[in-house]
């Protein structure tokens, strides 16, 4: 294994404010446009603007990726992956809340 010297890099922040076109989102997630359309139809992601062209918030990248890997790796269909994503997000939220409550009780 070779180790190169450390590179300084600056990235682009994909936040709620940053907007991606359909093709940019496809490229970012490494999935074809039909997949994105199916995800919009399923309500997993919501374009911020539909006219004149679809614009997506940068936050969509993470959701698309997660649904895609769930489908690919676990053999679930889109609806199943979408449900899993929602449940996972709910679990994350509840776990964070639980951790806070336990922290509060310890004090």
């Amino acid at each position: 294994m070779k180790v190169r010297k450390i590179e300084q890099v600056t990235g682009v922040l994909l936040d709620e404010e940053s907007e991606l076109s359909l093709s940019e989102l496809c490229r970012a997630c490494g999935v074809p446009a039909e997949r994105i359309l199916a995800l919009v139809e399923e309500g997993v992601i919501e374009p911020r603007a539909r006219k004149p062209r679809w614009r997506f918030s940068g936050i969509c990248v993470g959701r698309v990726r997660r649904v895609y890997t769930l489908e690919r790796d676990l053999g679930v269909n889109l609806a199943g992956a979408a449900l899993a994503l929602e449940l996972l997000e709910e679990i994350e939220r509840l776990q964070a809340q639980l951790a806070r409550l336990e922290e509060r009780r310890r004090r």
Binding site: M1, K2, V3, G11, V12, A28, E103
Partner: protein, 317 residues
């Protein structure tokens, strides 16, 4: 090279049928999928399970693997016997779209890597496109990093094509700038830091998803920051001026008289300094001291006399 017991990895006897293998794989895949699992070594285990399944799900590969015999122990030093795969013909197309490049040397020595581009899904594009693939990673930063902006060193393992045209693993360390105001779940795109392109093609991009390390004092929801502030009962009742820590420095905050437990005080714009800066909320928490001396017990007795207070009123008793 270490021998890998693929049956053991899937928790199976060598005699099981194909359906059993699939069932075991599906169960373990759900258990260790990095997006689903809370196990510490989920990612490692997930790769292992995938590699095992890659071989065992395919009757051809499974038979060839079984040929090696069961005399090996997991982790034992291993060299494939010469011409071990003679008489077996591996048909391409059996590879899943999992990250096959992450498979072990053991796997590679048996089944090679040549077939990988014959898979379906993402990998296939490589055959007629020279653009490198995007890669994805998750990094954990501290809340303070988002307030100040900072930089973070990350080490990535990349597969690159060597001079001999064979893929090899390369380790790279990058110093990534963490933009000020970043929140949990957001991504940073690093152009050209993904997988290298082939034949002079453009490299893919690297996407870093941000998570926050748990913080001793604060927790966040989007750009909003919360702090639990412990207060004595008399501070809640009489009001107080209290020094309060915030990620951007401590402040004097006025606690209004007769505040309820759990009341939230808003510090406008003191949340995460995104383009639309978030707010910070202080959540008031009453802490009741124990009475350990006579004077303290007397003070509580006086309280009970001064108040006509029934804390169980809502219970109807």
């Amino acid at each position: 090279m270490e021998y890998k017991d693929y049956y053991k990895i899937l928790g199976l006897e060598r005699s099981v049928d194909q359906a059993e293998i699939k069932r075991a794989y599906r169960k373990l895949a759900r258990k260790y999928h990095p997006d689903v699992s809370s196990e510490k070594d989920a990612e490692e285990r997930f790769k292992e399970v995938n590699e095992a399944y890659e071989v065992l799900k395919d009757p051809e590969k499974r038979t060839a693997y079984d040929q090696l015999g069961s005399g090996f122990q997991s982790g034992q030093d291993f060299r494939p016997p010469p011409n071990w795969d003679q008489g077996f013909e591996f048909h391409g197309g059996g590879y899943t779209d999992t990250d096959s490049e992450a498979f072990s040397d053991f796997f590679e020595s048996l089944f090679g890597r040549g077939g990988f581009n014959q898979g379906y899904g993402g990998r296939q594009r490589r055959q007629y496109s020279a653009q490198g693939e995007n890669t994805y990673a998750r990094i954990a930063i501290d809340l303070e990093d988002s307030y100040r902006g900072s930089s973070r060193q990350i080490t990535l393992k990349h597969t690159v094509l060597g001079a001999d045209g064979r893929p090899q693993l390369q380790e790279r360390t990058l110093n990534v700038k963490i933009p000020k105001g970043i929140t949990e779940g957001q991504q940073i795109r690093l152009a050209g830091q993904g997988e290298a392109g082939i034949g002079g093609g453009k490299a893919g991009d690297l996407y870093l998803e941000i998570t926050f390390n748990p913080h001793r004092l604060y927790h966040t929801e989007g750009t909003t920051v919360y702090l639990d502030l412990p207060l004595a009962p008399w501070e809640m009742a009489l009001g107080a001026k209290v020094q309060v820590p915030t990620p951007s420095g401590s402040l004097k905050v006025t606690i209004p008289a007769n505040s309820d437990n759990g009341k939230k005080l808003r510090l406008k714009g003191r949340g995460i300094p995104a383009k639309q800066p978030g707010d910070m909320y202080i959540v008031l928490q009453t802490v009741t001291p124990k009475a350990t001396t006579d004077t303290q017990r007397e003070a509580y007795r006086q309280l009970s006399e001064a108040f006509d207070f029934n804390p169980r009123q809502s219970m109807g008793s």
